[in-house]
């Protein structure tokens, strides 16, 4: 049986108002998302990028996210303090852009170009890059690049950046960078566990095993490209 939600009626009313506020500003987010797309459509990135995806958050998913946040806050004794004034600043993934690439060694160039573009076009990086990983080898790779790593209990992996158009922070966007194999895991997990974790414990278990396989896949693709390059360079 589900435990009674700690979210109050008043919280839910507030959340509905926040979702309406977001819906009323769709035009703003369409513009913002266009600007973000234009930023990362740079020719400088294309040699390293397999494909890209973007989306504006579905209002229903925003509602779920706000309910989860309100619930977490209530459980830890905090007040739900997201308002219409700070919604677009506090929820940083209302606009999301995702860069997919084939193998890990491409990440170094992608990260450098992403940071250059943000800097040159005068965007404000407010969070990241942060790499979520549960694998020691990959953790070491990111640490060598001076990228902060976070453990990942869910076994989700990706590098995240959060940035705004200016210091007013009127809205924020999130960039995710991950390999194609990580994307496979991410998509399966998203379909099965989002917005609510699967009720089937075998599904949840299998998804964790899938994470080990897709991680190995990335690792194998890395190795294939490494060997291929070594072969090319051999006298």
């Amino acid at each position: 049986m589900m435990a009674k939600s700690p979210v109050t009626k008043n919280d839910l009313k507030k959340i509905n108002r926040l979702v309406t506020h977001f819906k009323n500003n769709q035009e703003l987010f369409i513009r913002f998302s266009d600007n973000v797309r234009a930023l990362f459509s740079s020719d400088r990135l294309s040699p390293y990028v397999h494909s890209a995806k973007w989306r504006i958050k579905n209002p229903d998913h925003l509602r779920d996210k706000l309910i989860r946040k309100a619930s977490d806050m209530r459980l830890t004794g905090k007040k739900f303090d997201i308002t219409e004034e700070n919604l677009f600043e506090r929820i940083t993934d209302l606009v999301g852009f995702r860069i997919l690439h084939l193998h890990t060694s491409q990440f170094e160039a992608i990260n450098r170009i992403v940071l250059d573009l943000i800097n040159e076009e005068r965007w404000e990086l407010i969070e990241g890059p942060t790499a979520r990983t549960w694998d020691d080898e990959f953790r070491e790779y990111f640490n060598k690049l001076n990228i902060k790593t976070l453990d990942s209990q869910s076994m989700y992996t990706s590098v995240h950046y959060v940035f705004t158009a200016n210091k007013q922070k009127s809205c924020a966007a999130e960039l995710q960078v991950r390999t194609l194999a990580e994307e496979l895991w991410g998509e399966v997990d998203h379909k099965i566990n989002y917005p609510h974790p699967s009720a089937s414990s075998s599904c949840r278990e299998q998804i964790k095993v899938l994470a080990r396989i897709t991680s190995s896949c990335t690792r194998l693709v890395d190795s294939i490209f490494h060997s291929h390059q070594e072969n090319d360079e051999a006298p």
């Binding site: 513009r31 600007n35 234009a38 005068r122 965007w123 200016n166 009127s170």
Partner: protein
């Protein structure tokens, strides 16, 4: 070629436009005579001829000088509004500095140019680029604003008046969003009353577009305020009988009043608490009855209408009083709104 640095701060002069996209409501006559009246009251006034038809420039300067100005405006020594803006249109660097023409002690003119329409065409792209968060777009739409700012600094200007063409094009959008205030002239005819309906709607749309563009704008670039306030309206061109508008005009007075209230005041009072508390009577900042031959004489003689050779002394005195009253109202209302801002 002397250039202009983009302003780091907006000059405190008040920028005002007398605007109605309906033509033939007497914008130019009104603008120029209000400017003269403000100068009489001791204010330093800059007139910006931002209408490619150059009406205000041809009002103030003689035909030979005007011909010379326009013939040379495209070259290195050009002295018109186009000469200053041309490098922005042709992407050949920054704004060129030009000197306004002084007219009397306190009046300055930034001369117009038929080629200003080329700048207007480029503005279509600049507006689009603003929404794409591109610096070129922001620099383009604020180019005229930067130019005016420089002249205000150099000549210690108190009031800037833009004279606009009668349309809702991209140039007028840049002017309205640069202005602190707008005044609506409304002639007493049914087309002028109808035009008020689209006017409020159009202005509010421009303000919203700019808010969107600004919310993504990169930090550290010059932007105009984008929040013009409604200062009031001026009914015009009616005949008077025994000191009151004659019966054929009085229905238009109430229709104008109604449209001003429903189409403009209702939309603009949200961001302007001072506006909500003003009565319709107080919003009527002047009444310019049919000036008859005085208006035409003023235009052909390049003089304020109270100084022309035509008309009786009584008529001219009445005209002077009328415009001085409008000018005093403008001074009172613009300093009131400044007090509100500082409060």
């Amino acid at each position: 070629m002397a250039g202009i640095h983009r302003p780091s701060k907006r000059h405190p002069s008040k920028r005002i436009v007398i605007y109605n996209h309906k033509g033939g409501v007497g914008k130019t006559t009104l603008t120029i005579n209000i400017a003269y009246a403000l100068a009489l009251l001791g204010k330093r006034v800059l007139l910006v001829d931002s209408d490619p038809q150059c009406n205000i420039t041809s009002y103030l300067i003689d035909d030979i000088t005007l011909d010379n100005l326009l013939d040379n405006s495209d070259g290195e020594d050009g002295e018109t509004i186009w000469s200053a803006l041309k490098p922005i249109v042709e992407a050949e660097g920054g704004l060129k500095k030009i000197e306004p023409i002084r007219h009397g002690k306190k009046l300055y003119l930034l001369p117009g140019d038929v080629r200003l329409s080329e700048f207007e065409e480029a503005l279509n792209d600049f507006w689009r680029e603003c929404l794409q968060r591109r610096l070129r777009g922001f620099r383009g739409v604020t180019a005229l604003s930067s130019l005016v700012n420089q002249i205000c600094e150099d000549h210690d200007i108190d009031y800037v008046f833009f004279d606009c063409g009668p349309n809702i094009g991209p140039l007028n959008k840049a002017i309205l969003l640069d202005c602190d205030h707008f005044i609506v002239p409304a002639a007493c005819d049914q087309f002028s009353v109808r035009a008020l309906k689209t006017l409020g709607h159009t202005l509010l749309g421009w303000i919203k577009d700019w808010e969107t563009a600004v919310s993504f704008a990169p930090d550290g670039i010059y932007l105009f305020p984008g929040k013009p306030k409604f200062l009031g309206y001026i009914p015009q061109r009616f005949r008077v009988y025994r000191g009151l508008p004659s019966s054929s005009y009085s229905p238009y007075f109430s229709r104008i009043e109604k449209s001003i209230s429903s189409e403009i005041v209702s939309g603009f009072k949200k961001d302007d608490p001072g506006l909500a508390s003003r009565s319709m009577r107080d919003l009527r900042i002047g009444e310019i009855k049919d000036l008859g031959q005085l208006a035409n004489a003023g235009q052909s003689q390049g003089l304020p209408i109270w100084e022309v050779t035509e008309g009786t002394p009584d008529q001219k005195n009445a005209a002077l009083e009328l415009f001085e009253a409008v000018a005093s109202n403008i001074i009172r209302l613009t300093s009131l709104s400044e007090a509100n801002v500082n409060a």
